[in-house]
Amino acid sequence: MIYFDKVSKIYPGDAVALRDVSFAVEPGEFVSVVGHSGAGKSTLLKMILAEDRPTAGSVFFESTDIHNLDKKQIPQLRRRIGSVFQDFRLLPNKTAYENIAFTMEASGRTDEEINSDVPHILELVGLENKMWSFPREMSGGERQRIAIARAIVNQPDLLIADEPTGNLDPVNTHDIIQIFKKINEIGTTVILTTHNKSVIDSLGRRVITMEEGQVVRDDKSGRYSI
């Protein structure tokens, strides 16, 4: 589903973020990417979202070379990918309902679909009572659950999560990871970056370890070891 083909990313000043990275992610996989800060984990995800371009190599989403898409096709690609971030990145002036509805509106979904799907997805993440709350009125764990709801409401083919538990306590971390597992069980491919050893060990899924912009280990059923 995702294929990195000898991807390098060098920022001005010869700062190497990725060096000759190649790996593939199959549909339905749950892949964790681990590594120290600056290892290149977030850069990998930025490449998938077409937020950044590789200096060399190609990134494919199915058979499409992401960085050969023209500007108008990029939103269509992003609608097939749900994304969750460490800092939640909710729209601060929109309620929980509106944050989720915005993603559906951007994908051209009808009002009827939005009216029926948003309450349903809020129920799924256990926040139906926070429907009309603004992000500032919610805790970190609640915000992250809204962000997940937003990411999955369009039933994406791929869910990418960049350090989603980085700002959460152990209880919320556990809950969030359980949600990711469920999402993966219904067939959505998940790529997760994290620092959290217990998360990786509890998942028992594929682990890609990165160091200084390179893939140094790729274990099918890995544990956290840096």
């Binding site: 979202l49 937020e51 500007k71 108008k72 939103p75 269509q76 690609l77 992003r78 609608r79 994304s83 990145r89 909710l90 729209l91 601060p92 002036n93 915005f102 993603t103 509106e105 951007a106 994908s107 051209g108 009808t110 009002d111 937003r150 369009n154």
Partner: protein, 305 residues
């Protein structure tokens, strides 16, 4: 779908405007200042034109005939003057009226009145010629001096042509310079206000740059990201036009009162009232364009992601 899209963009813009009150107030404030400057310049231009016209109306070419010229000859000259290009009015004052005016003017000077009694009526009839534009006076004076008249018949009965060439030339220069300076000042003021507005709206959108990047990352297209910001700009522009129009009225009254001793002051208020719709439409149009175009330009660099 297009209608749904537009409806969602408009709704989102209105909701954002309401929820980002501080930013909205700042935008409305700067656009109002710009529109007030534009409105003020429209009024200043009307005031300037009225003042110049008033001064212009005080200038004319005066033709005094010899006392022995028959009234019919004077009226013939009057008729031929009226056919001249640029002449707007020719006023005839008879010998008797001239005498009466002179007596009235110098009624306290008994010596002068006494000598006038002894002398009889020394005055000739007079024609006052007004032109549409001060630049025409020279041609009128030249015409009267017979230079443009092949027959030369016109020259003989005229005693004196009073044409203050220096004054007229200075007036033409003054009007010309005032208009040029006025235009330059207007351009500079409007440019400055537009820049300040653009910078404020850029700052407002800069505050939302994270929000814009999130919208892009969840798959919103350019128009869907840009649209609500442009609607916010549009609403700010419309509100500002109303506020600027309301603020102009007390300003006009103040200028009227301050200049009442010079111009009687009525012109400006009546100009504001009689051109209310026109001025409002100019401010409304400027406000809407300023708000939406500033938002459009300011958001460009943030939707590249």
């Amino acid at each position: 779908m297009l209608w749904t899209h537009v409806r969602r963009i408009v709704k989102s813009g209105l909701v954002n405007f309401w929820r980002n009150k501080v930013v909205a107030i700042a935008s409305v404030f700067v656009i109002t200042v710009t529109l007030f400057v534009i409105g003020g310049l429209i009024m200043a231009s009307a005031f300037l034109n009225a003042s110049l016209n008033e001064i212009q109306a005080k200038v004319d070419v005066s033709v005094t005939f010899n006392p022995d010229v028959a009234e019919a000859d004077v009226l013939a000259v009057k008729q031929s003057l009226e056919t001249q290009p640029g002449v707007t009015a020719v006023t005839y004052t008879s010998r008797e009226d001239e005498l009466k005016n002179f007596r009235e003017l110098h009624k306290d000077n008994s010596l002068l009145i006494q000598s006038l009694d002894e002398l009889g009526n020394p005055f000739g009839a007079r024609l006052s010629v007004r032109a549409a534009d001060p630049s025409h006076y020279e041609a009128i004076a030249t015409f009267l001096e017979g230079k443009n008249d092949e027959s030369g018949a016109l020259v003989a009965p005229i005693d004196k042509i009073t044409f203050k060439k220096d004054l007229v030339d200075r007036l033409i220069g003054l009007i010309d310079a005032t208009r040029k300076v006025g235009l330059a000042v207007s351009v500079v003021l409007i440019a400055m206000s537009v820049l300040v507005t653009f910078n404020t709206i850029s700052l407002a959108i800069y505050i939302s740059r994270e929000e814009i990047s999130v919208m892009r990352l969840v798959g919103a297209g350019d128009n869907y990201v840009r649209g609500p910001f442009m609607v916010e700009g549009l609403v700010a522009g419309i509100l500002s036009a109303f506020i600027a129009m309301i603020l102009l009225y007390p300003a006009v009254i103040w200028v009227k009162d301050a200049t009442a001793s010079v111009y009687g002051g009525v012109t400006l208020v009546s100009y504001y009232l009689s051109n209310f719709a026109q001025i409002f439409l100019i401010l409304l149009g400027s406000g809407m364009i300023l708000g939406t175009v500033s938002s459009y330009l300011a958001i460009r660099k943030y939707i590249k992601i």
